[in-house]
Every structure is written in C-alpha cells, then in structure tokens.
C-alpha cells in the first residue's frame, strides 16, 4: 500500500519525507517556542535575582537564595496540598458529570439544541462574576438561594463559604468546568464511527452492551484528554479563590499563593518567579508520569 507513495522521494531530496512531514508542524511549533520560551527563560533569570518594587530595589543577582526561602516555607506546602485537592476533586467530578451529560445529549430529542446551549452557559460566565454570584446569591448564609431552600425544608442555614471554603470553591469550579468536559466528550462521541454501531445493532447487541464494549473504550481516549486539559486549566484557577474567600489556610492554592508573593502585596518578583519555576518543574515530572505511564494518550501506534 505504501510503496506507491514511498517511491516518490529519495533521502537526498531536501523535501524528502521527514521534512515534508515536519513542515506542517513548523509554524505552530516555532510560534509556541518564541512566544512562550522567552518569558519562561526570563522567569528563570528573575528567580535568581532579588527584585522588589516596594520599596523599589534595583534587580540584582542573589543566586539560590530565593530557592532556599522556598524550601523552608510551610505555607508553600500547604498551598500545594490545597491545589492538589482542589484540582483532583474538580477534574474527577466534572469529568464524571460531563461524560454523563454528553451521553445523554448525544441523541435526538425535543429541544436538544436548547438543552445543549443551557448546559454550556456556566462555562461562558467570567470566573470573577461566577464566583461573586455564587458567593453572594447562592451560598450566602443570610441571602443565599440554597439556604432559602434549606430553611423552607426545615433545616438550619449553613454558612457555606465560611465553613466549607474549599468545597464551595470546588462546587463553583465543577459548575463551570463540567460544560467544558461535556463539549469534548460530545465531540468525541460524535467521532465514533456509526458503521460499527449499526453493525452491532444489526447483530442484536443490547443498548448497554453496545455502550460498554464499543463506546466506552472509544471514549477512554477523550476522557484522558479531558482529564489532562482540565487539570492544566484547573490547576491555574485564581479568580474564584480571590473573590470567594480571599485566600486562607484552606483555600489558598498555588496560583493565589504566588500572586500574594508578587503583585498581591509581597512585591517580591524574584521570589515569586522562584516559586513558579518550582511549580513548572513539578508539573513536568507529574505530567511525564501521568502521560507516559498511566495514560494511553501518547501510546497510540504511529501511523506509517
């Protein structure tokens, strides 16, 4: 099959196969390298300097001092743990809900377009606005809709954000990110070849059987994609923490912690950069393990 195409080129040809394959990739790759690596390298440089602007001190080299401060900082570890809890619970719950919704929505029924649009709307709201609406109108101990319902049912009101800050933030995050998961899973469901499904129907397979043996394995790749992308985004969440709780021992995650070190009041850009570099290094390790050991995303057989 491939001999037809292989005969076209020879290795000496500058537009031979390897480069012809690489060419479509180059624009994206070059763009990404230039725009992201220059700031990254600058951040690495800043992490080895002392650079503060209140009071303004000229930036000067201090070697590993920032990293030493970082290593002995218990609040950093606390923030890292909060980040892990926040991210894992958000991604798992929203992935589950998103998959369920995608399966329900991948069918024709009355008003499916409206239902889909309604379900995407949480994702369209600005995170700052979502945080404020939930904090003041859903969760509020005195004026919240949830407590209004609870009190009608005879329960005492709950101060959701004060008593359960992390759970409150996770609720808002799940609310906003489930549509994201749903969109990807839906597109994934629709890329499933209908021939196979029709054949299964013709062969007399049951609804659940088809789902379990054909659809779910196909979806696994998309679930892993959702988990990866969702984690990347949720780990960076900042706005909801800022407007809902203003930080604290149970809700400060890594982005908010780094923010506090830098433009949030600490004004120590060198130290903030050092924390960020450590975050990048840890992320690389975690992502390598997750992608190459745990998931199948990078283990597809390469095509010819």
């Amino acid at each position: 099959m491939t001999s037809v195409t292989a005969a076209r080129t020879s290795p000496a040809d500058p537009f031979s196969r390897p480069w012809r394959r690489r060419l479509p990739l180059l624009p994206a790759l070059l763009f990404a390298i230039v725009v992201t690596q220059v700031p990254f390298l600058l951040s690495v440089y800043y992490s080895f300097t002392e650079w503060s602007i209140n009071p303004p001190t000229p930036r000067h080299f201090i070697g590993l001092d920032n990293y030493q401060t970082l290593v002995s900082d218990p609040f950093f570890r606390e923030a890292a743990w909060t980040s892990v809890l926040m991210t894992v619970s958000t991604v798992l719950i929203s992935l589950g809900l998103g998959t369920l919704l995608a399966v329900l929505l991948d069918r024709h029924f009355f008003g499916q377009g409206i239902v889909r649009t309604l379900l995407i709307t949480p994702f369209l709201i600005m995170p700052v606005v979502a945080g404020l609406i939930w904090k003041n109108q859903m969760f509020s101990g005195l004026y919240g809709v949830l407590n209004w319902v609870l009190e009608r049912l005879g329960f005492n009101s709950i101060e959701f954000v004060s008593q359960y800050p992390l759970a409150s933030i996770v609720t808002v995050l799940v609310w906003q990110w489930t549509p994201f998961m749903m969109l990807i899973m839906l597109a994934g469901l629709q890329s499933q070849s209908t021939d196979v499904l029709e054949a299964a129907k013709v062969d007399g397979a049951s609804v659940f059987g088809t789902f379990r043996q054909l659809t779910l394995p196909h979806l696994r790749r998309y679930m892993e994609l959702c988990a990866l992308l969702g984690t990347i985004y949720v780990v960076q969440v900042f706005d909801q923490v800022d407007v809902m709780t203003g930080g604290g021992p149970d809700s400060t995650n890594i982005p908010y912690f780094v923010y506090e070190r830098s433009i949030g009041g600490g004004w120590d850009f060198g130290l903030a950069s050092a924390y960020s570099i450590v975050v990048v290094l840890v992320s690389i390790v975690v992502a390598t393990v997750a992608l190459r050991v745990l998931s199948r995303l990078l283990t597809d057989e390469a095509r010819a």
Partner: protein, 287 residues
Amino acid sequence: MIRRRLGTRLGVGERRSAHVALALTAWLLALIFFFPVFWMVLSSFKEEQDANTSPKLFFSPTLDRYRDVTSNPEGTLAFGDAATNSAIVVLLSTLIVLALAIPAAYALAIRPVPKWRDVLFFFISTKFLPIVASILPIWVLANHFEKLNTLTVLVVLYTAINLPLAVWMLRSFFVEIPRELIEAADIDGAKLRGQLTSIILPIAAPGIAATALLCVIFAWNEYFYAVQLNPIEGSTVPMWVTTNISTRGDFLAKLSAASVLACIPVVLAGWLAQKRMIRGLSMGAIK
C-alpha cells in the same frame, strides 16, 4: 448514497419510555445547571437593594441597571469599544490558532513526525508556568516593544495560550479518521490541501467546531492579561464588566447586567458551534 440518521442514536431497539425518561433527565439537569445563570439574569433587572437581600422571585423589574452599565461617559470605557476590541482579538487569535493547529495536528496524527510524543508534551508544557509569574516578563517585553495597550499583544498572547489546547484536541480528532480514507486520497494523488478540504475537515467538523468554540470562550473571558497589559487602550469586555465592582456600595445587579451583555456574543458562538456538533452524515457514504 448518503444515509442520514434520524431518530434516536440507539434507534430501533430502544423503548419509547426509556427515551422519554432520558430526555427528561437531560432537561432536568440542564435546568439545574442553568439556574444560577437564570438567577443572574433575574438580578440584572432588579434594584440593587433587591439583588442584595433575601431571594426574590417577584419584584418590579427595571432596565435601569442596563442603562447604568452602558451609559459610559466620554473618557471611560464604553461597551461598544470593549466589545469591538474583544471581537477583533478573539476572532483573529482563534483564526490564527486554527491556521496553525490544523496543519500541526495533521503532522501529529495523520502523517506523524518521528518525535510526535515529545512535540505534544512540549505544547502542553507551555501551560505549566503560572500566569501570575509569566505576566512579569511579558509586561517587561511588551513595555520594551511599546506594545502595551495595543490589540496586537493580546492577539499574540491569546494565540499562544490557546494553541496547546487546539493542537491536542485536533490531534485527538484527526487520529480518529479512518486510515483507508487518507490512503484512498493518496492514491487519487490528492495533496495536503485537497486531503484537508475533502476528507479531514468535513469528518473532523464537530471536533474543529468544539475546538474553535473553546478557543473563543477562553479568549473572550480572559481577564488577567487583558487588564494588566491594556488598562488604558485596547481594553476588552472582561475589564468593562469589572469596572462595575465597587468596595463601597452594592453592585451585584449592575454586575449581572454587565455580565449578561458580555455573555451574549459567546452564547451565540456556542449556539452556532453546537449546530455543527450534531451527528449527521455517515462515514460509510464516502466509500
């Protein structure tokens, strides 16, 4: 012959009652999810005192909040300007992202380069640096090249932050395309562009629509870079929305009104995109 699938996805074998039950479940979940948004829309028609007190379903509605947020006096950021800036930045960056990512995904899925795994990992690793840290060198660079308060800097940034998402998603969808179709096109002598337009884009249309929609949403709502880099000119909708937040006086009703206005374009984009995400033509027709 093109076979169009009508009726439910699971067709003949399914009972009517199950179909109704599942449809009702979908509706119920949609309404629950939508409720806070519904409440926000409701608040946008209230007086501030009504929006900041016990939940009220019945009240005398007013359009005053909409007037408040759109009566931006000369010298302050107007909704029209912010929306125009946002539209330009979002459309341009999304088009550029697609223009870059579609060929890249081709080179990672259909005719993969040897080191495709490393390339994919690199793309995703560009998102590991916390935004709060990257703003420092970005601000320094933008200041140096005098690109602060321009739309250019946002277009470049948004393209960079959406590119990894687009590459990963499109690659996942392209990998699904049956090998036979690609090779059939090869035998027909079709070049990359022909393959793209006649085979890849139509089949991966739902995936491309989903990717484009996500890029649009992320770029439209992006607040941090936009406000740090463009507080004076080239300001976008998120900044316009948050000008209504005050520490000395209630603002929830105004914020709701501003947010409703800000969401309308993305809701439209969502509606358009999800029209493409309906199962339609069977792939068997291509043969």
